[in-house]
Amino acid sequence: MATITLGKALNEGLRKAMESDPKVVIMGEDVGRLGGVFRVTDQLQKDFGEDRVIDTPLAESGIVGTAIGMSIRGFRPICEIQFDGFVFPAFDQIVSQVAKMHYRSAGNVKLPITIRIPYGGGIGAVEHHSESPESYFAHTPGLKVVTCSNPLDAYTMIQHAVASDDPIVFFEPKRRYWDKADLDLANLDLGDPADLWDARVVREGTAATLITYGPSVRTCLEAAAAAADEGREIEVVDLRALSPIDWPTVIDSVTKTQHAIVVSEAPVFGSLAGEIAARVSEKCFYSLEAPVLRVGGWSTPYPTARVEEDFLPDLDRILDAVDRSLAY
């Protein structure tokens, strides 16, 4: 047992992935000596060499585009995008090549690429460093999208993602990099690779279901705890996989609680929260006591740091939505 942060858990998971498969390479900006701006690749270049941990020129399209070529050659690249707001120069390679090549080639070309993206706000950063672009990728057939919310998932999910033969966009909850857990990595069972696609009920409850993922999971757990003090048992579902989504887990929960609130940091309009609300509204049509509500970012660009707390869904806005749902 040792106390480990989410960031360090990712680092250990990446190390394991590189040890278990010599074809795994890491590519990105500052991933070498610096170990990444969040130190997620700390020490890996020292231990695996410059051929496997590659400090690339400064161009995201180049990072993903050359990673595609390396996978065609049989490698298993892990691309690090330094911040959420900097994935867009690579969007074309991701959407038109990474997502489509296996389909285009009728399965002949596999692209086992993992694209790591630290995402979300709450760290008081300047523009482009606090965005939640997951909906773009979840809406892109050919990609799979996952995100972790705690050190244990970070450690296991990154390894399953790297081992997957499909391209996976792996979203890391930036402001939770420093969240801690006690883990015994040495004797830890990674579980079935298929677990990567399972949502988890991270807190049981009966009054309502909070459907969430990534950085908002902790916020929702805090909200549920606060609600419990007032005698309300709220269930929290951590989706973990954003594409595809584990619908049975979500629908079972809502069928039970009959109230659902979707929580994420992305601007609500046109986001994945809409997909979730639409699907739940359809599948739980007869059991819902209230419409599915959504709490998230506003439909503005991510605002300047001094007002970000008013942009992000916090404990109060979540509980306010719970109240509105239960008031129906």
Partner: protein
């Protein structure tokens, strides 16, 4: 504002193809000439087999154009005029090498052993590229301009790590040279000293846009801005293209890094069968390029040198007719995919969402079956 566009002020014309840096080994008149940097020791038999490929590749194009006009293909991207560039490059590649084409490299595909019927599937709409890239060392066609140059560069980085002495060859056009991806590929290839050859077929046009919309200096000179050599070769001279491509691949193999090859050629047909060149270029231009035809000069050389006679040319014609028949029969025989297969190969590992949607479509389709009973 002046009718004369201001941005044309002081805009020099792109350098003509002539000049010392223009590599040519066989003149349009069919005379063998030497070039100090690119000696080519080649037998007449080899030249005859190159001639054969040129003719067959053009025939693929002729036949496909016809099939498109007859409604058997939705679209076709003609290579007419670029046969020498493609056969020269295609024949320079060994089985250790991997080619990353655009959508027009039918000639390279042929040299790499891809059955042209498979190519037709893509333009007929029965597949998005039916061949196995690993089988032939020939990646699927890439339609998004420039993307494949980064793939080729990454593949070359993989070759380095495998200690292989193979090389990657990225095909792209004059228009593509403006894309960020292509220039990023130049940066990567140079910085990592990757064994990749950037083979640019400068066919003078990007759909309706002339070369001047992409560059004000010769394209091969782009390479010097990135720290590796560039060379302009007569793209209608199969011997020169072969020699220059081989040399570039050799450089790559021996660890000397990337080379940019600019094959100076001309798109004699429309951009694709959807295009109407008469809207943007003069017929006269085509006439001048006909004088530089990539096939005629080889035929002239073979005839004049006596290396080949009527029987040889006749046998090539026969092969060509046979290929045409194979193409036509093969094209018409291409099966329409079963609708439900549109769900195949989205992922290597499957997806619960697709399983559900596949089920929806098949039961929906089944409902018609029942209805029709």
């Amino acid at each position: 504002m002046s009718a004369e566009p201001v941005f044309d002020q002081a805009l020099p014309p792109v350098q003509p193809s002539e000049g010392p840096e223009f590599v040519q080994l066989l003149t349009p008149e069919g005379e063998r000439v030497d070039h100090p940097d690119y000696p080519l020791d080649i037998s007449d038999d080899e030249i005859k087999s190159l001639y054969r490929d040129l003719v067959l590749v053009r025939r693929i194009d002729t036949e496909a154009m016809a099939l498109q006009r007859q409604g058997e293909l939705g679209l076709w991207a003609s290579l007419l005029g670029q046969e020498a560039a493609q056969v020269g490059a295609g024949r320079s590649l060994t089985t250790k090498d991997f080619a990353f084409p655009t959508y027009r490299e039918h000639g390279v595909a042929f040299c790499k052993g891809v059955d042209p019927v498979t190519l037709l599937g893509l333009f007929r709409g029965t597949s998005q590229g039916g061949w196995d890239p690993f089988d032939k060392g020939f990646q699927l066609y890439t339609i998004v301009i420039g993307s494949q140059t980064l793939h080729a560069t990454g593949y070359a980085m993989g070759l380095q790590r495998d200690g292989s002495d193979g090389a990657a060859m990225a095909f792209f056009g004059d228009g593509a040279s403006s894309q960020g991806d292509v220039n990023e590929a130049f940066v990567w290839a140079s910085v990592f000293n990757a064994p990749v050859v950037f083979f640019c077929q400068n066919n003078q046009w990007a759909i309706s846009e002339p070369l001047e919309r992409q560059t004000r200096i010769p394209l091969y000179q782009r390479a010097q801005g990135f720290g590796f050599p560039g060379v302009r070769v007569d793209g209608n001279d199969v011997l020169a293209v072969l020699a220059v491509s081989r040399a570039a691949l050799e450089r790559a193999r021996e660890g000397s890094g990337p080379t940019l090859v600019e094959a100076w050629t001309y798109r004699m047909g429309p951009h694709t069968t959807s295009d109407d060149p008469s809207r943007y270029r003069l017929a006269a231009e085509l006439e001048t390029w006909k004088l530089k035809d990539p096939i005629e000069r080889v035929k002239a050389y073979l005839s004049r040198s006596g290396a080949a006679g009527a029987d040889f040319f006749a046998s090539v014609e026969a092969d060509s007719d046979e290929l045409a028949a194979h193409l036509r029969a093969g094209c018409l025989a291409l099966p329409d995919p079963d609708p439900i297969t549109l769900f195949d190969h989205v992922y290597a590992g499957g997806s619960s969402l697709l399983d559900e949607e596949r089920e929806q479509l098949s039961s929906y389709l089944a409902s018609f079956e029942e209805a029709s009973h």
